[in-house]
Symmetry: D2
């Protein structure tokens, strides 16, 4: 039994952490912090938690005494909190972008923030870094687009089948967070498909960093906001350098993800779909079709709040503490 704190628990990722931890019998949630909602039951903000007996607390991170802390804080805010936690011997899974980059300069360029407190961290993609995560004190939980984008790209990169890949991603609106904006205003996004940050999204260098470790592949990335609550569907387009078959590529993916509990390579007669992963920690990958121009299409689907955020964070916690990796995460998607 470990004590767990959540710093910044009033956002969507906080709500999802609480949802999964509720069923985790090795975990005791000792603090869910929020300045704005201090003293209020979490269910007033996260209505699916109706009946839970947890109140938001307005306490600073340095007053949280736990075995592990999830920092569900904004980019730029985590770096003010994490070092002190680590110093006190508390393990941390940070959901912000602050510790995802090997090269601080890349972070500073794309986030426009000076990094005040760099630390050694492991990039929390268990499919790649499981062994490192086991020993880590600080795990940088991957971004939502990177999770689906990297998992779709790695096997092609590793096998040197491509030089470049274009990730055309479609994200549900919960990815934009709990705070209303013009972009998330229902009349603006319902019945609409909105490309944004088409060449400038900061998840691009994150994907590039990880894909580069497997092969010399140039990553191009364009996200779209779509009228979906949860889920990211990524359509990856790449021109093959060799004349291979779809079946062969599928075998490569099957082998790459063979023992992964949360990556499912789907059959050739199916295509990943959001409802199959909605609410769950799965990443479904498939398609593998090749057109007459030698372009291959890989499609991945995740729930941006689960495998793209809080579910993966708990998966990382399970690995860090030697729990069963699927603990509390063994739930199906919600279809329809």
């Amino acid at each position: 039994m470990i004590d767990v704190g959540i710093i910044g628990a009033s956002g969507y990722t906080g709500g999802e952490l609480l949802r999964f931890l509720k069923y985790h019998d090795n975990v005791n949630v000792i603090a869910a912090t929020s300045r704005q909602y201090a003293g209020i039951n979490v269910s007033k903000v996260h209505p699916h938690l109706r009946g839970e007996n947890i109140k938001f607390k307005d306490i600073p991170a340095e007053k949280v005494d736990a075995d592990l802390v999830f920092t569900a804080t904004p980019h730029g805010a985590s770096m003010d909190i994490v070092p002190e936690l680590i110093e006190r011997g508390i393990k941390v899974v940070d959901l912000s972008g602050d510790y995802r980059f090997d090269d601080i300069a890349v972070y500073e360029k794309w986030y426009g923030i000076e990094h005040s407190a760099p630390l050694d961290a492991v990039y929390g993609l268990p499919e790649v870094y499981r062994e490192e995560i086991k020993k880590s004190k600080l795990v940088a939980n991957p971004g939502c687009f990177p999770t689906g984008g990297i998992l779709a790209s790695l096997p092609l990169a590793k096998e040197k089948l491509i030089d470049a890949i274009i990730l055309d991603s479609k994200s549900g609106v919960s990815g934009a967070g709990i705070k209303p904006t013009g972009a998330t205003h229902y009349p603006n996004i319902s019945d609409n498909i909105v490309p944004y940050a088409v060449t400038t999204h900061r998840h691009m260098p994150e994907i590039q960093q990880e894909v580069s470790k497997f092969g010399d592949v140039k990553v191009s990335f364009t996200p779209h906001l779509v009228p979906v609550i949860r889920g990211i569907l990524t359509t990856a387009h790449a021109f093959l350098k060799e004349d291979v078959t779809s079946e062969h590529v599928k075998e490569i993916y099957d082998a790459f993800y063979e023992s992964e509990p949360f990556v499912r390579v789907v059959d050739m007669d199916e295509i990943p779909r959001l409802s199959a992963v909605r609410g769950s920690n799965y990443c479904d990958i498939g398609c593998f079709q090749i057109d007459p121009n030698g372009r291959i299409i890989i499609v991945s689907a995740i729930d941006n709040l689960v495998k793209g955020a809080s579910g993966q964070a708990i998966q990382n916690m399970n690995i860090m503490f030697g729990f069963d990796e699927k603990k509390s995460l063994d739930v199906t998607g919600l279809h329809p």
Copy 2:
């Protein structure tokens, strides 16, 4: 040819006024005001107007010299503007609630605002007040819920067939305006149906005021926000005092709205639907079914931004200036 100004043109009703006036060959739009967007082309806010050569102006109402002004200003703000316009001999169609009530005390109670400048105004529902509107200098354009709710209720009230009516209304999100709020945040309203202000909505006394003129009927009203961009569907439930048939009631409605250009009583084998009125100035009314308990159901459908706001405002303008009442409004709905 008349000169027309729009005070507060950056909201949805402003965008709709501009859309219809673009095709009105008796009208010259001389000013579309907005403090926030002064100097910017209207199409930057209203993207459907792309190509229009109109810029928002930040000028006070008293500098607008026109034959008619639409005040698309918030409740409480119109009363600061309208008297001066009227004094200068400018006709006004006010889209706020400020001039809709016969009894100032009712306004002040339900809007929680002291009324600083009461004036004689005509309630701008042409189906009831056409003759008064012709001679009016100030028309109070009806609220969106009241338009559909009153039109659904009047014939029953007039024929003394009912003592009470329950209006269960479902409104598209554009009715909440162009400004993002928690209620309009996509993840909150998509895949959801949200009752709100269930007994306290200020459109309730407005509907009551008008229905009472036709019969002694108690009006109960509950609105819902629904995952729809445009449109209000109202399901009216009322217990009949007499044993009449659906066919008989339909005849009453047919007769009542016989010569109305924008009210369509639909056949018994159909039901009003939002796509039939989407983008148009029609109010469709139908159903007339009676259950074993003697409850009759009347359904009305409007586009909240058109017949429920800007379209009706232009209809009123047409009447006030002796133009063809359908001028620039003769467009079908958009289905699918």
Copy 3:
């Protein structure tokens, strides 16, 4: 450990039964039948079950040897199957309407089907019939609208506070089943709100039957199809016979549902919402506001496929076999 069969497992209710039973450690699913999909993995139809190792079988009900069978068969088909199962000593939870009515004549009138095989059955609403369900061999699982409608109405009926109630229900499209129709065609229901069977829905007499047992209340019911995947929100309108307060009515509901594991009476500052129950077996009830005309509004929210169908069926199974009533059903809603 019991053996369970599902007859007609290829519909949405079949998919949901399989989803919950996957986590039920007292249950072994020995057959999921489907003529159309025989030999195919269930995940090809129910994509959220990807990874499950269950294939549809085309076997007749009489070849299913189990401790309990869920008959997820259409109205009129269950009566051909259920008697033989019961005769063989198999317990049955029937999800059709065939065994829900005390009076066969009512069934035959509203369903337009002659009932060939009436049997003693218990109406499977645990909040009312828990003790009877424990001893029952055949449980008639309630309809989706009746579940939310009855639970919203009972306390008012029992306390003799009303003579009549109007249920204005809004149902997600999954309630129409897995088979595409004109009504479920995306362009027809997206951005739309569709009243249907306004006075003739066969769930009306089912609700009336159960409410009548608690008080002399006339039930009027009108369903709407709404652009939502899952969920029924019912807005109940009733004129109070006595001058009571909202707080008093809430206390009545609190007391009535005090020990119910799956009914949550929500606080006065909240309103039931679909995302709080999505994917879960909860029925949330609240509102209790009273307007100046003495009309009270009660709002209930359920997931039509869970508390409105498969979740409740499993709740009934748990009761019939003495399992913990919450077994495999203890999951929160999915918000956002």
Copy 4:
């Protein structure tokens, strides 16, 4: 004044043709045929046409005596009808794929249909073939994806800036037609994004045919069905062969479409959006951003039923008969 017939008027494109022709004062609709709905008012199928006094007729094409016929018939059916119409001197705009291909072999390969009656036809994209359309007797109206895809690609191809282009298109569900299918079933497409026919869609060779006339560019195309009623947003990705700026590319597009009435190149600070073209005949094109890998993104937006089908068909008719090209088509989009 010309007489116009519509063969196959009960689908969405038929409904849209009728919507626009209603306001066209040079056109008299003398027949709207439908076998299934013969004798029924068009508004029973196309509810936005409520009030129109036109009934579907079940007459064969050879009994239609008109100046122009729109054949809104399925692929493979047009070829049985069109030759006889042409022979009788009737001009034809065919909305099927039957006459879009220069090379019959390509048609036969991708449509899997033997072509029984090839004829000389002009590809009905006015931005390219206006002069030919003026003199044509048979115009093959472009497909919906090709319209947006070709218009987005041509200037890049003409300037030899690219060798290959990837079109990642997102289509609203009305593009799938009026007939319900599994793919259009609300619970399947709501909250979902569905790639389909990822390398095999028959609009691919159509786009390739037209783009090839402007440059040696390999076209790769993948469509997605998205939870939108109307509209296609195409995100085109291409690697530039030269080092050019976004501004330069925008100038190329500005020049290319300078005098086009229905193509709007949007400012660099905006992005094409579906609501700006919804219900209208515009194609909006923009973006022009270039990422560090030299990939340029071009985005186009159309209403699939208007510029992607019926609106363009009427634009072609206007050109064929020397009417003002914008006649009856001069309507804005519908936002929000």
